[in-house]
Symmetry: C2
Subunit: 525 residues, 2 copies
């Protein structure tokens, strides 16, 4: 087979991009994002929709970390929200302490109360809108075409129901775990539950573990998160509603994943995979950074960042890591906010912020030391850079596990990090050729799509506008009671029928036998 690399998929992709970036519709979109790293994703989509000529309103909280009140991209709709203690660095210290059962229980308890508080405060904030006739009127008068929301916080889902608008989700997580679990059949035998640290190949004990983690999530939804939203539904939605059902009825799920990144699993017709939609070809680096990167020569560069939530690594960890970096022939760019480690080498540049995408796309970059947030992992795949992962919390271990399973990355737990283990792991990812080969294979697969993920995302948002929803892509399954869905009623009926048939046959048989015996007896007498 002769291959012409310049034609085929890349030509197609670029042509599709041209046609997609022509603004065509002037729709009105109400965006309800989640703050933090989730906003980074949503903002990329907002930028693209804005470029396509849509008018966008973004609901933000008065104490937002990242979502600016004023922006050329959108009009903001600010809601008053009490400060929560959404994230505190004590999680990090606990991770460092290691994996004792006590730590795990404490982590789980703290995590659950943190989650509960976050959802409760958002439900409270939304109540305030619903209680203010002027604000409600302004939302209705704006004549939005749809609500676009990240359902990790599901208040936007209730808002869409309240305003009777089509609903598009920009999603990976829902309050009760991974999004798929709400809509697609998810056999626990080969679909690992988030947080379980399992892959799609599970032995008997691992399947028991998976079931255990699934139970935690179900209970969390039922008793911790669900009640906040259901109270909101009961108060403001006519006839009441269940937030889980509202999620299931969403028109389109723009799912921030794909099957180069995640394990294959059953899916649904209204799930559109947009994993890596935020990835773009690298732009040139600022001159000073380019000079630093080039000064590494043939050894190349290592980059390290632990995401947006981490203010500072525990000091002793930072010291250990710095001492390893100091020994390497590579140059290192490290996004680090804590105290300057005393063991820092001359080859290491500490920065407050780095142009991560552009560095990942730079041919000099050899390894990415990362916490394993979805964005970073997707960018590493897109640019084909092997990852040494130090997972901290949430889905980070699971994300990195997906790379490790494909031989494209390696995980080292924060509890295990010391100069020896870190050096060994770093050198392994740097020098073992298979890591680069595997991540480059993933990169090729990820880039080989009939249309780019961002174009797919924009297409389906506009599709929902054009057709005022997409109910024809939602199954009937969600409307059935569980015993009908699982055919329990049919099974009970058939088993009962079989039992009645069997017993009747036995009874008739016995009756016939007895009467014959009686006759024989009578004759004998």
């Amino acid at each position: 087979m002769s291959l012409h690399p310049m034609c085929g998929v890349f030509v197609l992709l670029s042509i599709c991009l041209i046609s997609f970036t022509t603004p065509c519709y002037g729709g009105n979109i109400l965006v309800f994002p989640v703050d933090g790293s989730h906003w980074i994703n949503m903002k990329v989509l907002v930028e693209e929709l804005h470029a396509r000529g849509h008018n966008i309103t973004v609901v933000r909280s008065s104490n937002s970390w990242y979502i600016a009140e004023k922006s050329p991209l959108y009009t903001s709709f600010t809601v008053c929200r009490t400060d929560d203690h959404f994230f505190s660095n004590h999680f990090l210290q606990m991770e460092r302490e290691g994996a004792s059962a006590l730590t795990f229980l404490k982590l789980t308890k703290d995590f659950i109360s943190m989650v509960s508080e976050g959802h409760f405060l958002w439900c409270e904030a939304i109540s305030e809108i619903f209680d203010d006739p002027n604000r409600v009127k302004s939302l209705i008068d704006a004549q939005y075409d749809l609500v676009l929301t990240d359902p990790a916080v599901s208040a936007g889902v209730v808002l869409a129901k309240y305003l009777k608008l089509p609903l598009v989700l920009n999603v990976r997580w829902i309050p009760s775990g991974e999004g798929h679990f709400a809509v697609a059949p998810s056999p626990l035998s080969y679909i690992p539950v988030p947080g379980s640290g399992l892959t799609d190949k599970m032995d008997f004990m691992q399947r028991i573990k998976n079931l255990f983690f699934h139970s935690i999530i179900v209970l969390q939804q039922k008793f911790v998160v669900g009640p906040h939203y259901n109270a909101l539904c009961d108060k403001y939605i006519e006839g009441g509603c269940d937030v889980f059902s509202l999620l299931q009825e969403a028109d389109i799920w723009l799912f921030r994943s794909d099957f180069v990144f995640d394990f294959p699993r059953p899916t649904m017709p209204n799930i559109v995979y947009i994993g890596g939609f935020q990835c773009k070809p690298a732009q040139p680096l600022p001159a000073d950074l380019e000079q630093f990167v080039q000064s590494a020569g043939e050894h190349g560069v290592i980059i390290m960042t632990l995401g947006t939530l981490v203010n500072a690594l525990p000091a002793e960890v930072a010291e250990e890591i710095a001492s390893v970096f100091a020994k390497m022939p590579q140059k290192v760019i490290w996004r680090h906010k804590g105290e300057r480690p005393s063991t820092l080498g001359n080859n290491t540049l500490i920065v407050d912020w780095m142009p991560q995408k552009d560095l990942l796309g730079h041919p000099q970059t050899k390894v990415f030391v990362a916490h394993g947030g979805t964005n970073g992992v997707q960018e590493a795949i897109y640019h084909g850079v092997p990852v040494l992962g130090i997972p901290l919390f949430f889905d980070q271990y699971d994300n990195l596990l997906r790379l490790q399973e494909r031989g494209a990355g390696k995980i080292i737990l924060l509890a295990d990090v010391n100069s020896q283990t870190f050096e060994q792991a770093l050198k392994e990812v740097l020098h073992q050729e298979s890591y680069r080969q595997n991540i480059e294979r993933l990169s090729r697969l990820h880039r080989d799509q009939p249309i780019a993920p961002m174009d797919r995302a924009v297409f389906w948002v506009e599709y929902v506008m054009r057709h005022k929803g997409a109910p024809h892509l939602c199954t009937e399954a969600y409307k059935m009671p569980w015993y009908s869905y699982y055919c329990v009623d049919v099974m009970v009926f058939l088993l009962s029928a079989a039992a009645v048939l069997l017993l009747s046959t036995l009874a008739i048989f016995r009756f016939l036998c007895c009467s014959r015996k009686r006759k024989t007896k009578d004759k004998q007498h």
Copy 2:
């Protein structure tokens, strides 16, 4: 929202088409098609792949109905195959006789033996290739990149395994029924089994019926069809194999359906929907036909065809239909091969063959009277023409039911056709505006896709070439024993553990109670 109809999706579609029709790869593809209407589909794809510069070899039987030995599109690879009695018109007569239980049983029996014979003869034909070292060598020497096959006859699937080649399916049916059932979870509570005549909204009794039809299909696979292929596997594939597993391992399923046509259901990452991929904009009609069509004036035209398998409708049915057509103010074009009905009107043109696509795309066409083959139904959706369906066999009733459920078509059973019922049904579809509105809505939805179905099909065939398969899109599920897949082992373990725990607690409790009682007794004594 302001809408500019000339931009967006249509611009995109046409641009994608341009980029896709540029020949880019010179791959070698071994095609194993199924004859009859299935070949019509496969041929369209073969044409497109040929236009893209691929070399194609088509396996055909020596007694093929449609697949020519010589073609500018492909090299043929002819295998000797005994004549079967694959189809006989007695099915049609039985359909006409109506839906008695006896007819149903006779139909099912005849159908099953016909199916068994068809598969057996193909397995025999493939054996002959495997037994001939020269033919095997020629297949190996050709260095094919992949096998493209329609697994309704699964001999091509075994051939791919034998040649150790990646496998792409152009599929709707597998020997054991609808393709999805082999790979995606298919809850019987909302997924109607083919032949059941059910929709995705089932009541209790309908779910029992669905389970019954499912059982028939499972038994048919296990005892009628499966054994032929498994014998082939055991003889020629090292270590043996099961044809069902081979299907599950296919790299890509190009699925001839979509969710405008079919009810939404769970699906898998390697299933690519190409429903309607054969549809193209209408070409101008031949001058005489165009003149006939225009002569209908404002009343428009009715077109009727009952597919490729039907030589002749029962004469009395043809008479009844012709008498109704004669009364209509419309002009009628009727593809009819039987005796010329005596009641035929001047407005009715009987033809041996018609340019169906071009007629369906003609603005004068008002109603399509059809048997409900997948191709015809997809074309009716594409061109937005309401359908009056007379289903005859196979999936035709189910196909038409999908239109009827959306209010875009009406079914009349062959057993019920007489001049009165046919006239009433025809007038309803002609004059009730909702039929046209609904089929036009389906047409809009079908045409609104990020890339055209044919481009998607070609993309994924070439994808499999570029990456030498797509195993990363196949789940682990297929490798598990059923008791692990359904977590039966985990459940049995957990229930046993719970039982042991309960019994031990009871035993301890009883022991403690007894010993206390004994003590009290002792004291009393």
